[in-house]
């Protein structure tokens, strides 16, 4: 919105920084300007809170490292879609992808056909599903980058289209043939090698999907020329064009990569449900809104050009462990409702904090 100042988090040292800044003031400035520090503090606060509640016997089940580790299974799709949103939002000019959940549904059905019905080898089916997701993302990228659609509109349209196709493609029926059901083993927990006896078992999906994805996205953003171009066009695409950067191609690829990640998430969710469900990514509130929430909470500026992989991953951990604790703090399904309260409060809080940070430590005016 044009009333709001662009959300920059870059600290501007010349604004109000007296040389004799006290320890408290410095701490406050670091917390407000370094999103990763804030998230780390919040994670510790959440975990400690629930540990104390657990020790006091207020929770319906123990909140310990085993439980926290098991809860990580929810982090896999959330963080991967958060990273997809990171790439798209970074590309700037109102970049956003509302269609990731619908791509998850549609690619999941494609995976169900390839692996569950036609008996493709697993690795080929996964590669083909990821490629299909990339194709869906490329359609978004084409519309946004080459035709000039506002991202919100293009991805809203493809959200409707993909969602509809995913349901129609198999007459609203899920695919849960035996090979698909066996995929549930993808979401089991494994003991780590070497020191595994001393730490809790970790869900397999963390190692097979989330960690490789996070590392690859980090390399892409922080260690390749493409990443630098993406930050450049997100910060100021007019300047980037005058600097001779391929603005359209760079933005197009961001959407395609987001689609690719959504395709991988489709495989993960099919494994988790042991079934390719036509509404996997759009049921309830859908997957896109939580993913955007994670990205924003992780310090990604909605105006583009600012955001880091570590922020998104930490934001995911915060939400996942917070949600896991809330589930134990309430009897019955009230916990699910309080998760909404927590998510909404955290998001509003983060947004207001961004505004405060701008004004106090280098706001735009």
């Amino acid at each position: 919105m044009s009333v709001a100042p662009p959300a920059t988090e870059a600290p501007a040292p010349q604004v109000g920084d007296t040389p004799a800044e006290g320890t408290g003031a410095r701490l406050l400035r670091v917390l407000l300007t370094q999103r990763i520090a804030l998230l780390a503090v919040l994670i510790v606060a959440v975990v400690v809170t629930f540990f104390i509640q657990d020790a006091g016997g207020y929770l319906t089940a123990p909140y310990d490292f085993d439980y926290m580790s098991a809860a990580l299974i929810n982090a896999v799709p959330l963080a991967m879609l958060g990273l997809a949103e990171l790439l798209v939002i970074l590309s700037g000019r109102g970049g956003i992808d509302l269609s990731v959940g619908a791509i998850v549904s549609l690619a999941g059905m494609v995976f169900g056909f390839l692996y569950g019905e036609w008996g493709w080898p697993l690795w080929m089916a996964i590669v083909a599903t990821a490629a299909f997701g990339a194709l869906c993302g490329a359609l978004n990228g084409f519309l946004v980058s080459y035709i000039g659609f506002p991202a919100l509109i293009a991805t809203l349209a493809t959200y409707y289209a993909f969602k509809s196709l995913a349901i129609v493609i198999n007459n609203q029926e899920p695919i849960s043939t035996p090979p698909i059901q066996k995929l549930f083993s993808l979401s089991r927990s494994v003991e780590l090698p070497l020191f595994g006896r001393y730490v809790p078992d970790v869900p397999l999906g963390i190692f097979t999907f989330l960690l490789p994805t996070a590392v690859l996205v980090w390399v892409l953003l922080a260690r390749t020329a493409y990443g630098r171009r993406l930050y450049a066009i997100g910060t100021n695409d007019v300047a980037a064009r005058w600097a001779g950067l391929p603005v359209r191609d760079t933005r197009f690829k961001a959407y395609a990569y987001a689609g690719l990640l959504s395709g991988l998430v489709a495989v993960v969710t099919v494994g988790q449900f042991a079934s390719a469900r036509p509404d996997a990514g759009v049921s309830g509130g859908g997957m896109a809104l939580p993913a955007i929430t994670i990205a924003v909470l992780g310090g990604v500026a909605i105006t583009g050009g600012i955001g880091r992989v570590a922020g998104v991953v930490l934001a995911t951990l915060l939400i996942v462990w917070l949600n896991a604790g809330i589930l134990l703090a309430f009897v019955g399904n009230a916990g699910a409702q309080y998760q909404l309260l927590a998510l909404g409060s955290v998001l509003v809080f983060a947004a207001l904090l961004n505004g405060l940070t701008n004004r106090r430590y280098g706001g735009s005016r």
Binding site: M1, V3, L152, S164, V348
Partner: protein
């Protein structure tokens, strides 16, 4: 982006200079206003008409009162919220919390109807008041918290959902009396064969159309969306305009919730309002309102909502899978906005 500050004819889209008295001669004022009907709206009228003719020829039952009345009733809530959403988007914002807000208003009103058996006027006032409160929360946060509308409304959507579910109390609301049948599908909800819900929607749309086009306050919404900074320098109270836009949306959400209750059965379940925010935004963008702000019309939104509802009604009557209508909605968004983009490009190159 540069098109937002320029009207259809390539002239500066100023509206009357804010603060300055409106020029007395209507001819000179008319010359700075966009034409009463934009190209997008004329295209939409043609598309809806063509669709109705095609559907009328293929399924004889389509062009009958029994088919068109439910169509108009179903269009009403989307179009009504769409009026508010159009104003919000004109100011350069967006509100993705309307689906959740519809849920809160519906459940509060339904519960009060069940327990206190209030009459129609009280129920409507209550629902509108609740909606206005929710809109006020959004408006205050966005206008004075100076944060991005899409982020704040994602957050408040979650908070509203929480509030709504708490009021639901993990069950449905049963035995809703037929107090609101004035807005419903039944014979009590029609005058001369036209559903009251649709009549009210047309009335609100007409008022909003006049206000946005001819009142200084209405032009200020466009000024804010075109360039908030310039608008502020020109004397527009930007924050108040932004607040008003979200407040209006909230009030209309309250009225639309009454329509929603009236259209349903005597049972209200927790899925009420789910996904409505995207349906409303779809209607607004199909209607030719620029998501970048500064340009748009409520008339287009009404036509957009009518088009979307006609498509889904037609898909059902043709015996296709009802989910296919979403595919057509997606295609219509692409075509409608794409046509608008092409026209903008043509304007620029001229």
């Amino acid at each position: 982006m540069s098109t937002t500050a320029v009207d259809r004819h390539g002239r500066p889209d100023a509206g009357p200079p804010p603060g300055a008295p409106v020029p007395p001669r209507s001819r000179s004022r008319a010359s700075v206003l966009p034409s009463p009907m934009t190209g997008q709206e004329m295209v939409l009228v043609a598309v809806v008409a063509a669709l109705w003719v095609v559907l009328g020829l293929t399924t004889p039952a389509f062009l009958t009162a029994g088919s068109l009345q439910p169509l108009l009733v179903a269009t009403a809530p989307i179009a009504l919220v769409g009026v508010g959403m159009t104003i919000v988007i004109i100011t350069g914002g967006i509100d993705v919390s309307v689906g959740a807000a519809i849920m809160v208003c519906s459940v509060v009103t339904a519960k009060v109807l069940v327990t206190d058996e209030v009459n129609l006027a009280v129920a409507v006032l209550l629902s509108v008041a609740v909606g206005g409160l929710l809109g006020l929360i959004n408006g205050v946060l966005i206008a004075y918290g100076r944060v991005h509308a899409i982020i704040i409304t994602f957050g408040t959507a979650n908070l509203f959902l929480f509030a709504g579910l708490q009021i639901f109390g993990s069950s449905t609301v049963n035995g809703i009396p037929n107090t609101l049948d004035f807005f419903g599908r039944g014979p009590g909800g029609r005058t001369w064969g036209v559903p009251h819900a649709f009549l009210l929607t047309v009335l609100v749309t007409a008022l909003a159309w006049w206000y946005l086009r001819h009142a200084a306050g209405g032009r200020h919404f466009f000024a804010v969306g075109g360039d908030a900074h310039a608008a502020r320098l020109a004397g527009v109270r930007v924050q108040r305009r932004v607040l008003l836009a979200y407040l209006t949306t909230g009030l209309l959400v309250g009225l639309a919730s009454c329509f929603t209750i009236a259209q349903g059965t005597s049972t209200l379940d927790q899925s009420v309002g789910t996904g409505k925010e995207l349906a409303v935004i779809a209607a607004v963008v199909i209607g030719g309102t620029s998501i970048m702000g500064g340009r748009g019309s409520v008339l287009g939104t009404l036509l957009g909502a009518l088009l979307v509802q006609s498509v889904s009604s037609g898909v059902t009557q043709l015996g296709w899978r009802s989910q296919l209508s979403d595919l057509f909605v997606g295609i219509f968004i692409i075509v409608a906005v794409g046509a608008d983009l092409l026209r903008a490009r043509a304007r620029r190159s001229r």
